[in-house]
């Protein structure tokens, strides 16, 4: 490569690099610096250097525990619903209907998650599904403001993020492999287990990771559908910055959350390598 084209390449990368630096690296450095400080007398931030805030992290154990429980459960629940849907869209549906159905999956994304979560308040509230269930003799069921309601909101909100990567992976599947398997007398369910499923794994892992990482920072759905009783790390952060105004401790919690995510993403990349590289996932 000549020097001039190298220079051109560097030049083209500059905007992305600046964006990355200003939007990700700098704020993270600020948060890291804040996490070593303390809360000033009237709240906010006072500079300093101590590990006190990190020593306080166990005080938010419940928030981390709730997040680390509901995030994987939400991811798995989304996956269980999304996989058949993506399979149906990619393999079973004719080209004529495919576009329409894909648009239908995207359409909810055009409305704010806040408004869509509010809709669930009415569906899960006393005048919604529980009243419907009374017709069938199920009385006094409480759905809203429970971990179940949060799970429903999570699966509902994040489903498209899971559907698309799996859809892309299945769409690229070489149909000739399945034909060859059928020619050699493999029953469809075995062909699915031995060909379709393994080849769609990059999509499954990409989708799972997208959903899982976003869920780790979620605060809106627990606040709206959990009635303030289901507390995530995201909610702890909102409270620390806006209610307690303990920015130093808030920063330490944020650093811990980012560190936790890095560990998860690290593990994920290792798993992905075993399944034939990230490029196959279509999104990474």
């Amino acid at each position: 490569m000549s020097t001039s084209s190298k220079r051109a390449k560097a030049l083209l990368l500059t905007p992305a690099g600046l964006w990355y630096g200003a939007m990700l690296v700098l704020p993270l450095i600020v948060v890291l610096i804040f996490s070593f400080g303390s809360r000033s007398a009237v709240g906010g931030y006072a500079p300093g250097f101590s590990l006190e805030q990190y020593a306080n992290l166990p005080a938010r154990f419940a928030a981390f525990r709730n997040t680390l429980t509901l995030a994987p459960i939400g991811t798995i629940a989304s996956l269980i619903i999304a996989y058949p849907l993506a399979y149906f869209l990619a393999v079973k549906v004719s080209a004529k209907w495919k576009t329409l159905l894909l648009v239908l999956v995207i359409v909810p994304f055009w409305t704010s998650i806040l408004i869509r979560s509010y809709a669930w308040i009415f569906l899960l509230g006393g005048k919604g599904i529980p009243q419907l269930l009374e017709v069938f003799g199920i009385e006094g069921l409480r759905l809203i403001n429970t971990p179940f309601a949060v799970l429903v909101g999570i699966v509902y909100g994040y489903l498209p993020l899971m559907v698309f990567p799996i859809y892309v992976a299945l769409e690229k599947l070489d149909k000739r492999l399945l034909e060859a398997a059928a020619d050699l007398g493999t029953p469809p369910w075995r062909a699915f287990c031995q060909i379709t499923l393994p080849l769609s794994m990059p999509g499954v892992l990409t989708g799972s990771m997208l959903v899982f990482i976003l869920l780790m920072g979620e605060f809106l759905i627990p606040a709206i559908l959990g009635g303030g009783k289901v507390f995530f790390v995201g909610n702890a952060l909102v409270d620390l910055f806006l209610q307690s105004r303990n920015w130093a401790f808030g920063s330490a919690v944020a650093v811990a959350l980012v560190a936790l995510m890095l560990v998860v993403v690290g593990l994920y990349t290792r798993i992905l390598k075993r399944f034939g590289g990230a490029s196959d996932a279509g999104l990474m």
Binding site: R39, G43, I121, G125, G228, K229, S244, R245
Partner: protein, 383 residues
């Protein structure tokens, strides 16, 4: 699709437009019924050149940003203010004093006027976030018209930093069909973890939730004593599994019958009681909170002159009367009370008997900034 669900039909719009042209309706009426007023307000925020120009420019600029509480103003008043001065009011709504303080502390809030509660003001002064008010720019403010206990928190170290807006109490709203009358915090918390399990709500707000739990034990609403706070924490954690929700937006759940009792601010109690007479509002007889809100101007207000103009406008007794009729919070200004209808002044929710108020306490600055209370609330919520 029928014409009815349209904001306004084409025919109706043209009719209104003709009436406006002929001068038989006011510009305000025209903008209101056609929905253009709202549209202009939204667009005006994005494009200042579209904002209405004042006939007599007073160098006020074209906008003023107000940070306030939900359901706390009459929107018509902002339209009238815009018509008179050419200044468009941009309203930001907040849920707690802590949140407002956090925003101002972070800097660059862009607010010109905000509405702190009594106990927050000395903290704003200590944090150097507000300046003393220039009373020559507030001719409508008449200190003598205000009851001292509702206005004195605006004065810090002999300087006036804030002028009073409204006052109120924090009591108990209950659905009498299910609970009967609830007028004590003892009944509230004991019922919440027993016969009304799953039906009670507490605020997502440390001041009132911890304060009322303290009052249950006969402690002060403002206590920061570790042993007393431990009592409150034990009660709250004990009651938590039985709560319907921890939320300050309690009207929807109360109105649809999912929740039967909640901690409640005066105006919300009044609003629910007006629409659904079975929802009552009582003060806890052991005590609780009485509060007073103020108007103040942040130090870094970008439109200072417009801020003074807006506060002065809202302090006009005629304007303030419309505000009170819209939001249902009591007024401390006797000039305004003289204009309010008799039944409002005799309303036991708005203006409770003096002896019921005597048990109540104003929140204290230390209560707002105390780190232990903040942590207690966090432990309660994450328990």
């Amino acid at each position: 699709m029928t014409q009815d669900d349209q904001p306004i039909s084409r025919k109706k719009f043209m009719e209104e437009f003709r009436r406006f042209e002929k001068g038989s309706v006011s510009r305000r009426h025209f903008l209101g019924v056609t929905g253009l007023g709202t549209a202009m307000a939204v667009m005006g925020g994005a494009m200042p050149s579209l904002l209405p120009r004042a006939a007599r420019a007073q160098d006020l600029g074209d906008r003023v940003a107000l940070a306030t509480w939900p359901n706390y103003h009459d929107p018509d008043n902002f339209d009238i203010f815009a018509e008179k001065t050419g200044v468009y009011t941009q309203v930001n709504v907040f849920g707690s004093n802590e949140e407002m303080l956090a925003k101002l502390q972070a800097g660059g809030s862009g607010w010109d006027v905000f509405v702190p509660t009594n106990y927050a003001i000395s903290t704003y002064v200590a944090a150097d976030l507000i300046e003393p008010l220039d009373l020559t720019k507030l001719p409508n403010y008449d200190a003598a018209a205000f009851e001292k206990r509702f206005s004195d928190a605006g004065m810090v170290d002999g300087k006036l930093y804030a002028v009073p807006k409204n006052w109120g109490t924090t009591g108990i709203a209950f659905n009498s069909e299910h609970t009967g009358k609830v007028d004590s915090w003892k009944t509230f918390f004991d019922g919440a973890r027993d016969k009304w399990s799953g039906r009670a709500m507490v605020h997502d707000y440390q001041l009132t939730t911890i304060g009322n739990a303290l009052v249950y034990f006969g402690h002060s609403f403002n206590s920061v004593d570790p042993a007393e706070l431990a009592d409150a924490e034990k009660l709250l954690i004990d009651v938590k599994p039985h709560l319907y929700a921890i939320a300050s937006d309690y009207q929807p759940a109360m109105r649809n019958g999912d929740a039967w009792l909640t901690m409640c601010w005066t105006g919300d109690g009044k609003q629910m009681n007006t629409d659904m007479p079975e929802i009552g509002f009582e003060l806890g007889k052991e005590g609780g909170e009485i509060w007073s809100d103020f108007y103040a101007i942040p130090k870094d207000a970008p439109h200072r002159e417009a801020a003074y103009a807006l506060i002065n406008f809202l302090l006009d007794p005629e304007v303030d009367k419309r505000e009170a009729l819209a939001h249902g919070y009591p007024v401390a200004d006797e000039r305004v009370n003289a204009l309010l209808p008799e039944e409002l002044l005799n309303d036991p929710i708005l203006y409770p008997a003096a002896e019921k108020l005597s048990a109540l306490e104003f929140g204290a600055a230390a209560t707002l900034t105390d780190p232990n209370r903040a942590e207690l609330m966090a432990r309660f919520k994450s328990a």
